[in-house]
């Protein structure tokens, strides 16, 4: 096997003339994130042997890569992204209409102008950053939060470490509120931040994230739609310096949910309830926001789930509860952040194990709360079938390297749930006072 070469992550603003792409020496290739000014529209993975790229070839590939997202922003029909549902027409889209298509001229400038005309409401937003012993990334995150335009109404750092190491960093940023939650568990930390937050909207990001300057503008605009109760946004890789980072982004798909909007609603939930609703596809806790009124209605994060407890899925379990109540969640890629994926080579396998553990625990928690059999069906039928297929399938395309760890994660998820079953439930809605 050849030795790993880091990938070059490059931001390309298509509104600036481009002279083509040349790879720096000793890189594995270029991961190009395509934007038009502050609008993220698509990406390209260019392996070293495809480079250099002439200007015209690059623009052609870029145009092809961003066409779906551009179509989605410009037209009523024909370009909707597919929801993760099993159905005839997962995009719930009608065919494109020729008339508007033919009038399509300077589409990027048109999109920019149309977006510029949408006012950004002045809704108050609290940003909560939960952190645990990662001072350097936290400093970068807080620096980026300070540069947001429009700015946050309040920023809270929840320190989830026993020794309170984040206070020193937080103090360097005037106006940032420090909250201590020494009891380990991301859900506990999220809930601790929530208790202190005063905004109409609550946005969460992680300490290893750098948000786009317009992040809160996109979030405020999304909630201008009264029907939206929660949202997630685009998560792009900050760097692809190690094999684990490249694998996570490229093979696993990272946290990227695409460049087109998606709406998860009651219909989505009911269509998928029998198979286990794929709430994990909705987004990532590194980039999510809620109306604060939602928590009084459905409760807060389940403290058995999340990093430091089951491993993850505290976010998706909350979305499950919301959708089950008939609330609507929007994925809006205009709200973009960059996430520093775990760098250590061993981290990928460990991460997969954590994910499966959290995922399985969340399925059981969801079943416990709602008695929807789809959760059990996924746990007892779909997941075993998936692993059986991956174990027995021939061919080089199947990634088997983390198979053992993933399956161990599943078993540990069951154990985790069983051990924590009698534990206190999420604080009931009545006990929650904002």
């Amino acid at each position: 096997m050849s030795t790993f070469q880091p990938w070059d992550v490059r931001q390309v603003d298509l509104s600036v003339p481009n002279g083509g792409l040349t790879a720096a020496p000793d890189t594995g290739g270029i991961h190009v994130q395509l934007h038009w000014k502050s609008i993220p529209l698509g990406q390209l993975w260019l392996a070293l042997n495809e480079l250099p790229l002439t200007a015209s070839d690059f623009l052609r590939r870029a145009a092809r890569a961003i066409a779906p997202a551009v179509g989605d922003r410009l037209f009523e029909h024909g370009f909707r992204a597919a929801l993760p549902v099993v159905g005839e027409n997962p995009a719930r889209d009608k065919p494109a209409e020729l008339g508007p298509l033919l009038e399509c001229c300077q589409p990027l400038a048109v999109i920019e102008r149309a977006l510029g005309q949408i006012p950004v409401p002045k809704t108050s937003v609290s940003v909560i950053v939960c952190t645990r012993g990662r001072p350097d990334p936290l400093r970068n995150c807080l620096a980026a939060l300070a540069r947001l335009d429009p700015a946050a109404d309040e920023i809270l750092v929840v320190d989830n470490s026993a020794e309170g190491s984040a206070r020193r960093i937080t103090d360097q940023f005037p106006g940032v509120m420090y909250v201590s939650e020494p009891q380990p568990g991301l859900s506990r930390a999220r809930n601790a931040g929530l208790r202190q937050a005063t905004g109409t909207l609550i946005a969460w990001t992680d300490d290893d994230v750098v948000p786009h300057p317009f992040w809160l503008g996109a979030i405020r605009r999304t909630f201008a739609d009264e029907t939206i109760s929660a949202m997630t946004g685009l998560v792009l890789p900050l760097a692809l310096n190690t094999a684990a980072q490249v694998r996570f982004e490229r093979n696993f798909g990272g946290f990227n949910r695409g460049y087109r909007r998606l709406t998860y609603d009651r219909q989505f939930f009911s269509e998928m309830a029998g198979r286990g609703v794929p709430v994990w596809d909705i987004g990532a806790g590194a980039n999510m926001a809620f109306r604060s009124s939602v928590f009084a209605q459905i409760g807060t994060f389940d403290e058995r789930l999340g990093a430091g407890a089951a491993g993850c899925s505290e976010d998706s379990e909350l979305w499950y509860r919301m959708l089950a109540k008939g609330l609507t969640i929007r994925y809006e890629p205009l709200a973009a952040v960059w996430h520093g994926h775990r760098a250590e080579d061993d981290a990928y396998g460990a991460q997969m194990e954590e994910y499966m553990r959290g995922h399985v625990a969340a399925l059981l928690v969801q079943f416990e709360k709602h008695r929807h059999s789809g959760n059990l069906r996924r746990l007892l039928l779909a997941l075993p079938r998936h692993y059986l297929r991956r174990m027995t399938l021939r061919g080089g395309d199947v990634d088997r390297s983390t198979l053992g760890r993933e399956m161990r994660g599943c078993l540990r998820g069951v154990c985790h749930y069983l051990r924590n079953r009698p534990l206190r439930r999420t604080s009931p809605a009545s006990a929650f006072s904002p």
Binding site: R60, A67, P68, G71, F79, L101, C104, C105
Partner: protein, 375 residues
């Protein structure tokens, strides 16, 4: 139906309807939107992002038509090129291959701006190499006599050369001139000569294709291809043992595409570089064509798998993949799920087998005799 936006072809729609059907504007609009929505947006974005082209010296071009005793088709082909020649000024060269009579040279009397040369040795690649020796242009575009060049054929070539100054070969889109007979419709449904509507640059690596560049069929087709003349000459021209007419009428274009890329050059596929081809009208001729496709491909493969040790594995994989693919096609054809009748698929498979069984070697001995005869 060919869908274009400005001069660019975006999609080709084959829509089956009983005789007498009137396609309403509405149906037409939805057909077009369905087939080309993504491409229309892509084109609009491309236009918005395009930087003003850098003026560069235009290379001189020779359009070479190799023909043999098909004056009707040849006159039509030349007729489509003359207006382009008038507005752009390039050389048109007709190579008359082993003419059985004087009809072609007589026809050429009517076209004073078209050069005529005769190549007595029978075989398409003898004719192509003759064109290569005679051509005055820095670029030489080979056309079959049974095509009609599109109005923007020459503009597309110039644009492609400006956008890809490093290219050694440009291939283009070939669409049907007519779909009058069952054979022609069957051929086009099976994919015809189409290589899609996305321009592409091919170099020594093609991600996701382990047999690249041995599967030379994706690069284009011999009825519409242009090359940098000096590159062709350095490579020694076309292989005269391929494309000899019966019994081995094919493979010369694939062989050249492969050699172009194997030597480290860039090949560009540009769908705007468009011609219309008169497909074989009757089924017997079509069946023969499928046979010769299999034969030509495998003769080319056989030649290189022996000579090119470094790529031998890729050629082996290509052979395995090709037969696998053909038998899949045969199976679905027998179940009535493929537009191509089983005997056509069988003909292609049979051609492939004959091609692998030393046809190339036999052909070399045959052309050696032809060379001696005419020296």
């Amino acid at each position: 139906m060919l869908i274009r936006r400005k001069t660019r072809p975006l999609a080709y729609i084959l829509h089956e309807a009983p005789a007498g059907t009137v396609l309403t504007t509405e149906v037409l609009r939805s057909l077009i939107a369905e087939a080309a929505a993504g491409k229309i947006v892509e084109e609009a974005i491309g236009e918005e992002l395009a930087t003003s082209p850098v003026a560069s010296a235009k290379p001189s071009v020779t359009a070479a038509i190799c023909t043999r005793a098909r004056t009707k088709e040849l006159a039509r082909c030349i007729g489509s090129l003359l207006p382009l020649q008038e507005s752009h000024g390039f050389e048109i060269l007709v190579v008359d291959n082993a003419p059985p009579n004087q009809e072609t040279s007589a026809l050429l009397q009517k076209f004073p701006t078209v050069r005529y040369v005769e190549e007595p040795r029978p075989g398409l690649d003898f004719a192509r190499n003759r064109a290569l020796a005679e051509a005055g242009g820095e670029w030489i575009a080979f056309l079959d006599d049974d095509i009609v060049a599109d109005r923007w054929w020459f503009d597309a070539l110039e644009d492609a050369l400006r956008e890809n100054p490093d290219a050694a070969a440009i291939t283009g889109l070939v669409l049907p001139l007519e779909l009058s007979t069952t054979a022609q419709i069957v051929f086009e449904k099976r994919g015809g000569f189409q290589r899609g509507f996305d321009p592409r640059r091919y170099g020594s690596v093609l991600p996701g294709n382990p047999v690249h560049p041995c599967g030379a069929g994706i690069f284009g087709t011999g009825s519409n291809m242009a090359f940098r003349r000096d590159t062709l000459r350095q490579l020694g021209g076309f292989d005269e043992a391929l494309d000899t007419g019966a019994p081995l009428p094919g493979g010369g274009d694939l062989d050249m595409f492969f050699r172009i890329i194997r030597a480290g050059n860039i090949l560009v596929y540009e769908p705007r570089f468009l011609v219309f081809h008169e497909h074989r009208r009757d089924e017997a001729a079509l069946q023969r064509q499928y046979y010769t496709w299999g034969l030509g491909l495998m003769a080319y493969v056989d030649k290189h798998r022996r000579a090119d040790i470094a790529y031998r594995d890729r050629f082996r994989r290509l052979i395995r993949w090709w037969f696998h693919d053909q038998f899949d096609r045969l199976r679905s054809s027998l179940r009535g799920r493929h537009p191509l009748p089983a005997r056509m698929v069988l003909a292609e498979i049979l051609g492939g087998i004959v091609g692998l069984l030393g046809e190339y070697g036999r052909s070399r001995r045959r052309i050696e005799r032809i060379r001696k005869e005419f020296s």
